[in-house]
């Protein structure tokens, strides 16, 4: 055991009851780190791997390269072509998912204990030695192009794209990670090899595991799975300041219901005010019918099926955004109510009763997230990406409970910026102009 460091054990007594989450910090013989929750009762393992950087590592003129490369990881390796690989995965009843996001490439795997070594070998081959065969590139490129074309007439995608353009200027965040028809059409096999070498490296890998595997077994697995990836990849993208102009931008589109995305800059995940801000957002527009936006826009006025706001702390910028959809002749009213609530919250903060209710909800529901091996593995890797320590699961509810009305008032005044609140509306909204 000398080579295998289990550095820390955090115990979460989730609720006033019995179960607990034991997080082990594992370091492989080769130096790859992971967090593990060992749960031997069901004979399989869930593994969540993240390579930081993701689609924002696209090189100039190569937008969409990381995304296409990620889609090609399961399209053949060594002697196996795409279908051969799929048959092999199916034959083991394993499942591997490969996804590109703005800040990471994400691999989600699930495999049975009875054939774990074979499954890991297959996954390894797809990550370390993908073929990038030309016929696969062309086929998957066709799928990406189809997706790009669908987004061109999808009101939600249209709103998001325009919002990102305004928010992020010339940063990669400003454009879709799918790329454009032109950029994707021009991508070559060499671009795939470059994107692979740039994005999938050991200096940016994070792993969460949960299920029927010991720390020692996981250590060996990590070296086998990831040890042959390059040590370093491309430098991380720069940070970007979000400066929203305020006002409204209309994207005309002939559809019965307008879709509006609204927001401005947000707050960094590492900011000491993040937890108060998170509680604040729960009250303003977080999930649930109790949130103010839902109460005012839906419950009282019936203007929408759903209205939500979110804090989006990305790695290189932070947003505070929300979304609503209302019939073209009613969206102006929905927007006015949202602006009003945004302003009120910035000025007055929350009531004691609202704060108490949000705290009971947030602290009580936290444990519900640890819902099965895949969910736990996902939480473990997410915490590492956020630079949290394993004992966060123990202290998180205390941090929420420590938030005071005064904290919320201060943070509301700091992060809510009614003058910068910008709406992008896709549809034929009545009584709404670009201004």
């Amino acid at each position: 055991m000398r080579w295998l460091g289990i550095v820390f054990l955090a115990l979460l007594w989730a609720l006033p009851a019995r179960a607990e989450i034991k997080i082990q910090e594992v370091t492989s013989p080769g130096g790859i780190k992971a967090w593990l929750v060992e749960e031997p009762s069901i004979p399989f393992t869930a593994l969540e791997i993240r390579f930081k950087g993701g689609a924002s590592l696209d090189l100039p003129g190569k937008r969409g390269a990381v995304n296409l490369m990620t889609g090609l990881l399961e399209e053949g390796t060594g002697a196996m072509d795409a279908r051969g690989f799929a048959e092999a995965v199916e034959g083991l009843a394993a499942s591997f998912d490969y996804d590109a996001y703005d800040d990471s490439v994400a691999i989600s795997a699930r495999f049975l204990t009875e054939n774990r070594d074979a499954a890991v070998d297959l996954l390894r081959a797809s990550l370390v030695a993908p073929s990038f065969e030309q016929s696969a590139i062309d086929r998957v490129r066709g799928q990406v192009l189809s997706s790009i074309r669908s987004d061109e007439t999808d009101p939600n995608a249209m709103a998001g794209r325009r919002f990102d353009e305004i928010a992020f200027g010339d940063h990669p965040y400003a454009s879709s990670l799918n790329g454009t028809v032109e950029s994707v059409t021009a991508l070559t096999r060499q671009d795939m090899l470059d994107a692979h070498a740039g994005a999938l490296a050991r200096d940016r890998v994070y792993v969460g595991a949960a299920g029927d595997i010991s720390a020692e077994q996981l250590g060996l697995l990590l070296d086998r799975l990831l040890g042959d990836l390059p040590a370093t990849g491309l430098p991380m993208p720069a940070n970007v300041d979000v400066k929203m102009p305020g006002g409204t931008v209309v994207v005309p589109f002939d559809t019965p219901q307008s879709v509006a995305m609204f927001g401005h800059e947000g707050i960094d995940r590492h900011d000491p005010d993040f937890i108060p801000a998170y509680v604040l957002n729960t009250i303003l527009g977080g999930g649930g019918f109790e949130a103010r936006l839902m109460t005012e826009v839906r419950e009282k006025r019936g203007l929408t099926y759903g209205v939500y706001s979110y804090l989006i702390p990305k790695d290189h910028a932070a947003l505070y955004i929300g979304q609503v959809a209302s019939a073209n002749d009613r969206v102006a009213e929905a927007m006015a109510v949202i602006r009003d609530e945004w302003t009120k919250m910035a000025r007055d903060g929350v009531t004691e009763a609202e704060l108490t209710q949000a705290k009971t909800y947030l602290t009580g529901s936290y444990a519900l997230r640890f819902d099965g091996n895949s969910a736990i593995a996902d939480i473990l890797v997410g915490m590492q990406l956020d630079d949290l320590t394993p004992d966060y699961v123990v202290h998180r509810n205390d941090m929420v409970n420590a938030v005071t009305e005064e904290d919320i008032r201060r943070v509301a005044a700091r992060i809510l910026k009614p003058e910068a609140l910008t709406f992008v509306v896709v549809g034929k909204p009545e009584g709404v102009q670009t201004q």
């Binding site: 009851a17 889609g71 799929a86 799928q143 189809s146 799918n178 419950e299 209710q357």
Partner: protein
């Protein structure tokens, strides 16, 4: 396969994943004296439970002309009762650190909460309350009607593919209420009244038409005691009608539709066939169709993907789907999304050709073996998701199946032979009993 590009379509079509249950030592069921059934699926890994109440009543049980009322009522159940103020139900769940929601389908309406295990009694108390004590006023229903119309705007009116599928379903079911959308036809939704909602409520919401499903950290004796305390006192409704719905007449001509909308970016062809569903004690044919959907079009390794995405790559996506759990006759479907430059006509012909070849070639034994191994593994993975299992029980028990049917299903699937699959395929894949739809950006010019 590229998930982001391709997953969208199977989801639109409805997934055809073979659903296998886990070893069912963890399942306990009993029926209260008032006819309410209770199912417990134990999972003691975390001190959490899901509590669901399923009603054997969905949109297909609505009175003609009142489409959408089942779903409308589902929304209204979050308004007040004699003892709870409007919105208080969800507020209490949230104040107890839980989450809650509900959904409506053709054959069922279900309400659920996820909470700490020691709050199960409170959830039962509140569900029992709104099963019989709903109190609505005219104000509630106007605001909520506006909400469901916005929901229809979001799910259907703003999405040409959803409008297309609604038309295709209406064409599939000439006589059976599955031809009406669950959310309702817009003009009928706009006219739904308080009386409509209450009439549906009084007709269908009663303990003898409901099933409570609990998944998670609870023990049988505890669940029985709580159910006796909260659900057993409810009075059954002897007037719950039998679920006899108008059935489809024999279909003697193929039905075709061309749906054009300028918002369509990615055209595709959709084909559905009327198909038998799982019946109590007789699930063999549905099992064969479930396997057929997997073999023909379940993913990267399927026959349609091989022929249409790999050997003759004219499709971005090609697949098959089947809804095996349904009260009345269901559908088996296929779809093809052509690559740019390939017409829908050519895509449909290629699909037909691929299916014709499959009917000649038969089932590949290695593929069948892999799928059966996947089904066995699915029972292991299912143990990690007690709530998913709760949903499968709820779906089945509100679709005319029994607990025994649910527990037998993995074995029925396992027993399916290649011959069973081909027999089912030959029977169901009959063009005269099909609906074929084209989703397009614009109507093609007709030339003679």
């Amino acid at each position: 396969m590229f998930k982001r590009a391709v997953l969208a379509l199977p989801l639109l079509f409805g997934l055809s994943q073979a659903q296998a249950q886990g070893t069912d030592e963890q399942v306990t069921t009993f029926t209260l004296e008032n006819g309410m059934q209770v199912v417990l699926i134990e999972d003691h890994r975390a001190p959490v439970v899901s509590h669901m109440v399923w009603y054997r009543a969905g949109s297909a049980d609505e009175t003609p002309g009142r489409s959408g009322v089942a779903h409308f009522l589902e929304h209204l159940l979050f308004k007040g009762t004699k003892t709870l103020a409007p919105g208080e139900f969800s507020k209490v769940v949230a104040a107890n650190g839980g989450t809650d929601n509900a959904f409506t389908n053709f054959d069922q309406t279900a309400y659920y909460q996820r909470v700490a295990a020691d709050r199960l009694g409170l959830m039962m108390k509140m569900e029992a309350d709104r099963m019989v004590n709903l109190q609505l006023d005219a104000e509630d229903i106007l605001t909520e009607r506006a909400v469901i119309i916005e929901e229809r705007n979001m799910r259907t009116e703003n999405d040409p593919a959803a409008l297309f599928r609604e038309q295709a379903y209406a064409a599939q079911y000439l006589n059976h209420p599955y031809g009406r959308p669950v959310i309702g036809w817009r003009h009928e939704m706009e006219a739904l009244s308080l009386d409509d909602a209450l009439a549906y409520y009084r007709q269908f919401y009663a303990p003898n038409n409901a099933i409570a499903i609990i998944a998670g950290d609870a023990r049988p004796e505890e669940v029985r005691a709580l159910a006796e305390q909260y659900y057993a006192p409810l009075t059954p409704n002897p007037a719950i009608p039998d679920r006899v719905r108008p059935q489809e007449p024999p279909q003697t001509a193929e039905r075709r539709l061309m749906f054009a909308d300028p918002r369509v970016s990615q055209p595709y062809v959709l084909r559905t066939y009327l198909a038998p569903e799982r019946d109590a004690g007789a699930q063999k044919e549905a099992a064969a169709l479930t396997m057929l959907a997997e073999i023909l079009g379940g993913g990267q390794t399927s026959v349609l993907a091989r022929k249409l995405q790999f050997e003759n790559p004219i499709a971005v996506w090609a697949g098959a789907f089947y809804t095996e759990t349904s009260f009345d006759d269901s559908t088996f479907g296929m779809g093809i999304m052509p690559v740019e430059g390939v017409s829908l006509d050519a895509a449909e012909k290629a699909l037909d050709k691929a299916v014709a070849e499959f009917l000649k070639e038969g089932v590949d034994a290695a593929q069948l073996e892999r799928i059966k191994f996947l089904l066995r593994a699915a029972q292991v993975y299912a143990l990690d998701n007690a709530e998913g299992k709760a949903r499968r029980y709820g779906q089945a028990l509100t679709s005319g199946l029994t607990v025994e049917d649910v527990q037998a299903w993995p074995d029925v699937l396992e027993a399916v032979t290649a011959e069973d699959i081909m027999t089912a395929a030959r029977k169901v894949l009959n063009r005269n009993e099909a609906v074929t739809g084209w989703l397009m950006k614009e109507q093609p010019e007709v030339t003679q």
